[in-house]
């Protein structure tokens, strides 16, 4: 029996409400994913695809209304077995009109307390997270080392300040920050983007979490720094075997670190499978969006012949005006006459078309 997945998300829905348009922003609209223990799942998608909101929903950091409204997040880690969205249904009442959720009533304060009870001990201990633009993620009024010590004293048995400080310094060394004792006292404005990210990684891993969520860890950093951070994550993965949920729009970062990959578009997972299949250009069974995404990154061949990039027409999907049928239909270039009617009117579900390979496209369903 294969070990149960460390994290299993089932049909997660997270909505926000635009008061000016008086409509729902359906950022995450039915996402199902799972990560096996020790594995790194890469989630790739463009802006507005809902990948960051999915991560924040797992961590319970969604504050705007209505926020998480349905779904289950199973979490199995050494000794703990929990649904992070335990009895969410008791706090939320949904009403649908022709297949789309049109009314949401949510007891936000009640759910906030309940979520705090569930996540209180997990957040920062079992599940840790690092973010994009690391420089703004550190408290500008406190030294970097002090913030790491706080994490250690909060989440590990090392309560005594001196011991926690030592442990923090060893972690700074571990993430290859030069002269850690000096950097311990420095502030975020005195460090480069790369070094801030290393400090964040040290802070997250110092609590020895079971799951690390990395949301766009390399975005905004220079090319040379990006590759250093990716190397560091690779080393930490091989050394600690930590289960990671890696989120990025940069396909090369995902392919470098992930075991399996999920491609998200318009708030849903459109393809999910082992990294070497999903991301290799040659692999045939692929969702049209994934194929087009891979083709729009300038490859060696493109550059050689100074050829044009294969382009996905149209604009990135706006998650307020969702179409009736498949979300990618308007921009899809592999629609055949046989399935055009289905693509335009009914949304396909995520089905396993070959072992381990899931796709959400009528092209592969008989």
């Amino acid at each position: 029996m294969t070990a149960p997945p460390l994290l299993k998300i089932e049909d997660l829905r997270t909505y926000f409400y635009s008061r000016s348009k008086q409509a729902f922003i359906r950022s995450v609209d039915g996402v199902s994913l799972q990560i096996a223990r020790g594995e790194t799942l890469g989630v790739v998608g463009e802006s507005g695809s809902g990948k960051t909101i999915t991560a924040l929903s797992i961590m319970g950091l969604i504050s705007a209304g209505p926020g998480v409204i349905s779904g289950k997040i199973g979490f199995w880690s050494n000794g703990i077995r929990k649904n992070l969205l335990q009895d969410l249904e008791m706090y939320v009442v949904l009403r649908e009109r022709d297949g789309k959720i049109m009314d949401v009533a949510k007891d936000e304060a009640g759910w906030r307390e309940n979520a705090e009870r569930i996540m209180g001990r997990l957040r920062g201990k079992e599940i840790a997270m690092i973010f994009q633009s690391p420089k703004s993620c550190l408290n500008p009024f406190e030294s970097v080392g002090h913030q790491i010590t706080e994490a250690i004293r909060l989440r590990t048995p090392a309560k005594d300040p001196k011991e926690a400080k030592e442990r923090a310094i060893t972690w700074l060394e571990r993430v290859r920050i030069d002269s850690p004792r000096l950097r311990f006292e420095s502030y975020s404005y005195g460090l480069s983007g790369g070094m801030c990210q290393r400090a964040m990684i040290a802070m997250a891993l110092s609590a020895e979490p079971a799951l690390l969520i990395a949301d766009e860890p390399t975005t905004g950093l220079d090319a040379t720094i990006q590759s250093k951070i990716v190397d560091l994550l690779a080393e930490l993965k091989s050394e600690f075997g930590i289960t990671t949920l890696l989120i990025s729009h940069d396909i090369s970062v995902i392919s470098r670190l992930s075991d399996s990959v999920a491609v998200m578009y318009g708030g849903t997972v459109v393809e999910y499978g082992p990294a070497r299949d999903v991301l290799s250009a040659g692999f045939a069974l692929k969702h049209p969006y994934t194929g087009a995404l891979l083709a729009s990154v300038p490859s060696a061949r493109n550059i050689q012949q100074k050829g044009y990039l294969q382009v996905i027409e149209g604009e990135v999907l706006d998650t307020i005006n969702l179409p009736r049928g498949c979300r990618f239909y308007a921009r899809c270039n592999r629609v055949t006459e046989a399935i055009r009617e289905k693509c335009a009117s009914r949304e396909p579900d995520l089905r396993e078309i070959s072992p381990g390979q899931h796709v959400r496209c009528w092209l592969y369903f008989e």
Binding site: R19, Q22, A23, P66, D103, A105, K106
Partner: protein, 297 residues
């Protein structure tokens, strides 16, 4: 339970929703109340100027001292000399209306000019204007006014020039802040690279398009400020002197009769002050939330 509901299946482009649909109900109520007050003040000012009043505000009637509202045709009753309170309230607006406009005109025009120079030029001009702002802010406004009153004679227009000048730093820093925000987005550089001359960039793009709501809001808040100052001064005895009515001296005169249990002659003008200033504040804040965009929670 918080309720969210979406009515339409298809959502039109954001821009074709009229602005009152986009705004939230509270702000609309603020603006509605504010506009009601502004029209009331304008109408009263006109009535006062044209002398179309229910009674002669100066006409004393011994028999009706401190009459409660509604007595003998006096809608709002009479004061300690039997003069009709409603007419005196209407005429009372003369005391602050034009001076108020003068104050606003000064603070907006000077403020905009200094703000543009500070924001657009930057460098030493910026430091100089910052110094001027600090200097004006160092004076408690009423103390400065008392100084002017001591030096010159207690004329409301002198006072309103001072109120106008002390309003300049606020406007200037708002305008300069807006320009810095636009500069941060390289907006000003993009316009100058295109070849737009400086005066077009400043007048059209910065002031007309991006600062007009800001100036309207400052005007409403400025008027509220002017009323507060005028009424306080006339309470202190420096504003309009008896027998000409002003809301400040009516409150002050009426207050002497508190001890005899007659509150109304002092409370009526006080309520007038309260609702008018409230009107201008709500109008300013409501417009700000609708047009400048409330900071989303």
């Amino acid at each position: 339970m918080k309720h969210y509901s979406q009515v339409a299946g298809e959502i039109g482009a954001y821009s074709d929703l009229p602005f009152w649909k986009k705004a939230d109900r509270g702000d609309l109520a603020y603006v509605a109340y504010g506009l009601f007050i502004v029209t009331l003040v304008l109408v009263s000012y006109a009535l006062g100027a044209l002398k179309l009043l229910p009674y002669d505000p100066q006409q004393i009637s011994i028999g009706l001292l401190n009459a409660p509202p509604g007595r003998a045709g006096h809608l709002l009753g009479t004061d300690f000399l039997g003069r009709d309170i409603l007419s005196r309230l209407i005429v009372g607006i003369q005391a602050y209306f034009l001076p108020g406009l003068l104050a606003i005109a000064i603070s907006l025009s000077l403020g905009t000019a200094l703000g543009v120079v500070a924001g657009y030029r930057g460098g030493p001009a910026d430091a100089l204007i910052a110094y001027f702002n600090d200097l004006v802010d160092s004076f408690p406004r009423l103390v400065l006014i008392l100084l002017v009153i001591a030096a010159f004679k207690p004329d409301i227009y002198y006072v309103m020039v001072v109120v106008g000048v002390t309003g300049v730093p606020g406007v200037a820093s708002l305008i300069a802040g807006k320009i810095r925000f636009l500069r941060q987005k390289n907006f000003i550089e993009a316009a100058s690279v295109l070849g737009l001359p400086a005066h077009v960039i400043i007048l059209k793009h910065i002031l007309w398009y991006n600062c007009r709501t800001l100036l309207i809001i400052q005007a409403t808040l400025g008027m509220g400020e002017a009323i507060l100052i005028e009424t306080s001064l006339s309470y202190l005895g420096f504003g309009v002197q008896e027998p000409t009515p002003s809301w400040g001296n009516m409150v002050q005169a009426g207050a002497n009769y508190f001890l005899q249990g007659r509150f109304w002659p002092s409370t009526a003008p006080a309520l007038a002050i309260l609702f008018t200033i409230l009107g201008f504040h709500l109008l300013g804040d409501g417009l700000n939330n609708i047009l400048e965009g409330k900071r989303k929670k």
